[in-house]
Point group: C2
Chain length 560, copies 2
């Protein structure tokens, strides 16, 4: 092991480009002199006011500035909020090396294939316990428990001191498969000395301990055994542990499992290929085979935990699935909880499933879901093991970071050594000090269709106006030499009023435009900008008075 010789004038910078003050688009930069390590490269699904935006990725201006110093992108696990930005940033970083565990790389490879980017990067498999050297930086990995197998945390040994990035974790003493959290390495590094810890804050509001994933297995066995009809079960496609337990419960209760949904099929295939999913012989069947079995011998495993409009479960709930439909007496098990913001969509899907005669098991009380993140007591144990000089609470909205900071303060970490920061904050650490240095651009970059970063505040502001009250277009053709109106004013509106029932309003609006134009012609004020401003103003007031709405008003002046 390379121990950091602490030189008192040495400095290391830590920059969260995403993943603090939010849950999503995780990306943490460790910058020591000429060496940069990037920890994770995630995406975030947009807040609902980002109309039309498909996803948000970190702003990597900071990385582009120091492109040549980047030694590696290290991925801690295969969730979208840790790997999802890769297809968008790889083309900008020409030839970066990516490190991750076997399953993580399996998922990354499949993603890069979709984007035809496989040849642009080198992928290196890492193992828990392994040590890698990047110039004067050394990394080690410790296994953690999370809602996807093959998760790790990272220890970065720098000449300034040790930095530990827990990434997402819970402490599961009875995991479904794989190692338990590597307490020995954590204890060892804690004893050696940790300068800075970046630790998961997702569940910092939640008292106590998070239950073991094994608990879900027990609940599933009970349900699969007692339910009389067919079972349709949804969970997160990447929760391979849970998928394993679904297969186990199916075997236990003498049922076959048919897998449906593009993403679920993909993950099941990858996990099986890489040895993370062990399916008993004769358990997995094709969706087209379910008709050969009595209903009480069938489990259908598919996607749609979040009530996504195009998911298999939502299609079943609205009788729009191409290959199957709900049969009254089906039991639907939603082995997940809604991600904040999706509550209504999930509730609506549940309502519609009930409408079709299914029974739906979804309550937290049913035991079919546990969190993948540690609760307060687990966060405390992590801090007690690591005993860091400085703490950066990460993976959390602002209140989660604050709660994590409060916990840490109660454990004896000085409040001024706890950095509750926003994305883009550059923090500088020496062996004996830590401070906020400056901040760098870190507003998310919006991905909309094929466009990355071409939708910004102007476009979004327009979309908001259009969404709320639609658009009202006034077209006038003017002869610029004779200064007369050749054609129009014509009016076209969309998303404003139902035109057939509002003819009177449109006639009045046209009269208003005519009055404005007459006045301007009389005054010989026929500059485009003047005409447009006057129409906007007059029609805006008129429509507000008549309808209480503020559509976007777009005057179009055609000159002939």
């Amino acid at each position: 092991m390379v121990k950091g010789k602490k030189k008192s004038k040495d400095k290391v910078n830590i920059v969260p480009l995403g993943g603090v003050g939010e849950i999503g688009k995780n990306m943490f930069v460790i910058h020591y002199k000429d060496e940069i390590l990037v920890l994770d490269a995630g995406l975030m699904f947009p807040e609902e006011e980002l109309l039309g935006v498909d996803m948000v990725i970190p702003d990597i201006s900071y990385l582009l500035e120091y492109k040549d110093k980047i030694k590696a992108i290290i991925l801690t696990h295969g969730h979208e909020d840790h790997i999802g930005a890769l297809p968008y940033i790889i083309p900008q970083l020409n030839g970066v090396s990516i490190f991750g565990t076997k399953l993580t790389l399996g998922l990354v490879e499949s993603k890069l294939e979709e984007f035809e980017l496989n040849s642009e990067v080198d992928l290196y498999e890492i193992r828990s316990g392994e040590e890698l050297r990047f110039g004067s930086l050394t990394t080690r990995f410790f296994s953690t428990n999370h809602s996807i197998p093959d998760s790790v945390g990272v220890i970065i040994t720098t000449p300034v001191g040790n930095i530990v990035y827990t990434s997402d974790f819970k402490l599961d003493y009875t995991p479904v498969q794989g190692d338990i959290t590597d307490f020995h390495t954590l204890a060892e590094i804690g004893k050696e000395g940790v300068l800075v810890a970046l630790s998961d804050s997702t569940n910092a509001e939640r008292p106590g301990y998070t239950s073991s994933e094994k608990k879900v297995g027990e609940s599933l066995k009970d349900i699969f055994y007692s339910v009389e009809g067919r079972i349709i079960i949804v969970t997160f496609a990447t929760n391979v542990h849970r998928i394993q337990q679904i297969f186990n419960a199916a075997s236990f209760s003498g049922r076959k499992v048919a897998v449906d949904g593009w993403n679920m099929l993909k993950v099941v295939r990858i996990a099986q290929d890489l040895g993370f999913l062990n399916i008993a012989p004769n358990t997995l069947i094709g969706l087209e085979e379910i008709k050969n079995y009595p209903l009480n011998e069938v489990v259908i495993l598919t996607t749609g935990t979040q009530g996504e409009p195009l998911s298999a479960l939502t299609r079943l709930a609205t009788a729009n699935h191409r290959k199957m439909q709900i049969i009254p007496g089906d039991t639907v098990v939603i082995a997940a909880t809604p991600i904040p913001g999706n509550e209504k969509l999930v509730a609506r899907t549940i309502d519609n499933l009930f409408r079709r005669g299914a029974n739906v098991i979804y309550e937290p009380i049913s035991g079919v879901h546990v969190s993948g993140h540690g609760s307060q007591e687990e966060l405390k144990l992590m801090l007690n093991l690591l005993r860091p000089e400085y703490l950066i609470p990460v993976h959390g909205e602002y209140r989660h970071l604050i709660h994590h900071a409060n916990l840490a303060e109660n454990l004896g970490i000085d409040r001024e050594n706890i950095f509750v920061v926003e994305n883009g904050t550059v923090m500088e650490f020496t062996p004996s000090s830590g401070r906020v240095l400056t901040s760098v651009p870190s507003d998310g970059v919006y991905v909309d269709g094929l466009g990355v970063g071409d939708v910004g505040s102007v476009v979004l502001r327009d979309r908001h106006v259009l969404a709320k009250d639609g658009i009202f277009i006034v077209i006038v053709t003017i002869n610029s030499s004779t200064k007369t109106i050749v054609s129009g004013p014509d009016i076209v509106s969309r998303g404003f009023v139902y035109v057939r029932e509002s003819e009177e309003l449109l006639v009045e609006a046209r009269e208003n435009v005519n009055r404005v134009l007459d006045k301007l012609i009389n005054k010989n004020m026929l500059e485009w900008s003047t005409i447009k401003a006057n129409i906007k103003d007059t029609i805006g007031k008129f429509l507000w008075d008549k309808t209480g709405r503020k559509p976007m008003i777009l005057p179009i002046i055609v000159e002939v």
Copy 2:
């Protein structure tokens, strides 16, 4: 008391025009021969996909058809989902009589004043225990407990049998003020015989009992006493019980209370005037007076429990309040839970309050909120008291109705006697039978600005397209006699791409339009519809290939 003489050929119809399969816009119609009673007239706040819609009210086509038979609108309490539709339906019902308790009418009067509708209706105050006769129908009212004072349920005695409408209720054995639920009347009517019960399903998913509102008072006292700095507290403006307890806790801890927010001020004034709020002398101060008191003697009571963008609390969180600002060390108490769908907005407000240095108390665990609706054991007790022949679970999304039906079935009510129905279902009951007869229009009517019902599926579909990808307008001026292009094609887009950075795309689009026009001119195909369809098609495909987006494409052909 008028006992119903059950004539076996008599029939009574019950029609929910709103309030089943949803939480909101409650309206239940009792229709016996030539007499109609309308129970409640509420609004619903729109689901988020109803872009630009301000609120949704019941479709009252059924009532308009039988306008002359309407004897009364009976209001059970003053919440918006029970009274909010009044201003929109009163003008259509010329001269309807409205019945409600004192506080309910106080709130209705204030609402009608805003809409200048006071002279259009007669308001009659009712009291718990009172009996009213409307032709062959008789009504009695029983007091209930809910998150607003002066709530009642209604017993309608018809020649066919007794109908009981519980409206929203919980069973609070230690209410803050007013009566406890009128168990004696419920027991009496249960003994006499109940043909149909319409009972609250809101909390049918929740096991056990709902806590007493008094519990909140205890938590508030603890918090007010132990907090050192200033307290800012928000709750629902109509929760007068809780407001009472906030004043009590303030007196107890030696603090003054300043009230802020238009709606909160209004309700406090009405509740005080009508005797529902008792404020200790020298406790209420003006917002401008708070500067005269040390921070630890001040409580500010305001609105914003749901993170509403324009509410006082959100303005404080974003430092946009005109009259005050968060001082680090303030404690903000959110004495409410987010209504489903508002979780993200509330969380963001909490995050921003923490960012400004406030401490925020909001967790369910803190005891600052209890529900106003009874949980499963309370629903069971209600059914055991009433022992109805038929049950219509109301006030709930579909899954809540199903859970309520399951509870009722477990209590021994035949499943076929439980009507889990959608809005608009006409149910017919005789003394010995109940069945679904037909259904009447019941899709919600959208209120957008001043327009009631003028926004429908066409307008909303357009708003969705505009919201997602914006609009792309192509303007061409054609000389219809010479068949030549006089001007254009010009392109205007909004909400699609940031134009300054997409000039190349627009140039290419223009070239595409030119090619389409040349082709059509050569073929002499210059009908508007042909030109428009061709432009839409070509440009639609072009933009999808280039951007992965599908803006609304609007070709405008000007003929000169």
